[in-house]
Structure formats: C-alpha cells, structure tokens
C-alpha cells in the first residue's frame, strides 16, 4: 500500500519545494544596481524606523528593512523603482560588476 502511494505521488508530482532564486540568480539580468547614499537616507540620518519606501515598493523584496537598508545584489533585477520612489533622492542606479 505504501509503495503504490509513493508511486502515485511520483506520477502526479504535485509537491514542489520552495526555494530562493527559482529562476536562478536574477541579479544577472541587469548590471545596474541601486547605491544608497547613507548621508541622505532618512532612517540612517534619524536613526528611526521611518520612510523605507525602497523596501515598500520593491517588487522583488530584495531591500531589507534595516538601518542602513541593504540591497541583495544577487537577486536585484535593477528596475530602478527604489530610485524613483526615494523621497530624498538618496538612491542612484550605478553599474556594478556581477560575479
């Protein structure tokens, strides 16, 4: 009985493993990455958990809600939404060498 159940599961194959980077390291899609100017960044300047527009608007969720905010360049697709939405223009998109 147990064997046949396993066979069914193999055939149906409905169980999938959640993984980080399902499409590979999507950071390689673009060489433009956000560089945060910490002298302008509101949370760094005030030391409080305020603003974080970059974290909120990032479609990939690769910017952390920490002080200072950090970008995971392995998966950042370089869309530039964070640069547009930063209220103090602390973010610029610059070319970064990807390994």
């Amino acid at each position: 009985m147990t064997n046949s159940k396993k066979d069914y599961q193999k055939i149906l194959g409905s169980i999938q493993t959640p993984v980080e980077g399902e499409a590979g390291e999507t950071g390689t899609w673009s060489s433009l990455k956000p560089i945060i100017d910490l002298d302008k960044c509101i949370p760094v300047k005030s030391g409080k958990y305020v603003c974080f527009n970059c974290w909120l608007y990032c479609p990939e969720g690769v910017i952390s809600r920490t002080i200072p905010p950090e970008v995971d360049n392995r998966y950042c697709k370089g869309c530039g939404i964070c640069m547009e939405e930063c209220p103090v223009q602390a973010i610029t998109m610059k070319e970064v060498k990807i390994k």
């Binding site: 999938q16 993984v19 909120l56 990939e60 392995r74 640069m83």
Partner: protein
Amino acid sequence: MDLREEEFIYPGTRACAGCGMALIYRMALKALGPKTIGTVPASCLTVLHGMQGFCSTKISVLHTPFATTGAAASGILGSLEAKGLDDEICVLAFAGDGGTTDIGIQALSGAVERGTNFVYACYDNEAYMNTGVQRSGSTPLGAYSTTTPGGKTTHKKDMPKIMEAHGIPYVATANAAYPLDLYEKFQKARKIKGPKYIHILAPCPPGWGFDPKDTIKIGRLANETGFWPLYEVVDGIFYLSKKSKKLLNRENRKPIQDYLGSQKRFRDLGENIIKAYNEYIDNLWKNIEKRIEE
C-alpha cells in the same frame, strides 16, 4: 500602520523587472498572512511561481486550468470545511484580467453565487501579457495589442460593477502604486465572511511600453487622472478611498494625456479617442458622485 516584516515570496522569481503584479502579490500575501491557501490559473502569476519541482512562495498554491479559478477555490473551501479549518485558513484566488473578465467569469460568478467564503483578487494588466500582449475584455480604448494593431475600439469592462451586482459583502478597487491602501483592503477582506472581490490595476512595463522604473509613477497617474478611481463597496454602501477623494473636484484631476502619453501602447491616439476618454472619465465620476450622495 504596522506592515508585516516577513516575506512570503522568495527573491529570484521569473517576474519581469519592475513588475506591478509581483508587488501586488507580495503585499497581498503579507496582508493575508501564512495561513492562506492560494489558487492560480494560467497567467503571469504561474510564471512567477516557477517550473515543475520548485516554487517561489512559502504558502501552498494550487494551479488550475484557465477557466476554473472560482470552482477550484470552492473545492479548496469545501475540503477545509470538512476538516473544520475554514475559519482559520483563508482561501485566496488570484487571477489575471483574462482569467477573470473573459475566460474565468462563469466559474467566478458561480463561486460567488454559492457564497464561497474566499478572497478573489484580479490583477489587471489590461491584456494577456503572459502570452505576448493579446487584447482582453479589460484592455482600455485605443490601446495597442497584437490582436488590435490599430488600437482597441471599445472601453474596458467594468468588472467591479459586475461583481457588485452579485450582491457580495465586499468589492474594492486598488492600485499597485498604493501598496498601503492595498494592504488595508486585503486585511479588511480577510475579516469579512462571504465572497470578497478586489480588482487591482497592475502596470506592466513590457506590455504597456514604459521604462521599468516608472511602474509606480504610471500607476499613480492612472489614479490622478481619474481613470482608475479607488473605492470600496461594503455591504452595498459605497466608500471612496482616501487617495481618490480629492478627485471628486474636476479641477484636481490631471489631463488624461499625461497618463496615455507616457505609454507606448497609446502612441497613435487621435483627437476623437482623447475626447471619448474625457467623456468616459466624466461619466465615471458623475456616477461616483451620485453613489456618494445616496
């Protein structure tokens, strides 16, 4: 407002750079929490979930054929009821505009009529983007797609109104450019019993023809020009959302050319189309004014 820190989508998905849908899905899952079971028809969202063997979300998701999102959600809820878990676990159906307004409308209508206790979210990128920009019932007037090379000749389908006519407890419109508003609406929907419908505008950089960095800007223009008003209908009572309130005054609305001109799909618009748009928006807001007075 306190947003949940935890992410339910792993980074490194197959969504395009600057995808409006990815942002919507991220916020929706944040609002609904870990005790959610999703169901998704063929759409861009299937692409985001990934290929056989792996997936990119932390919640369970059932992939269904195109026409059966509503029926699949009813089925999931039936099994949860049999196990006595239906109060605890939220069922989320998440479909594109094609899967909602064209192909999936009968299954959705049936599920809503049966009173299924689920949240149905439609992310509206205004064409079949996954298969290469074919027109859907939700494509707006004058928009280019591969099946309407000269621009679509009719206005988009008013899907929230169709769902309202079913007499369901919660109908809302949202926009990818206002993630906090969207988050609140999903949280509200989770607490209400019965069928809930949320229609969300999802700007699509490759399909609409704009730079990925402008996703939020374009979404915001859709609201500010009055083209996509944000509202909620709770038990038949109409509430205009905060972000759209000042647009009741016609002078506060930006000219529609700002929105249309920023996208390549509207590049060859004639004067008559702009005129038709202005009439459409005026009518839309006249109706809203009437409904608020009630």
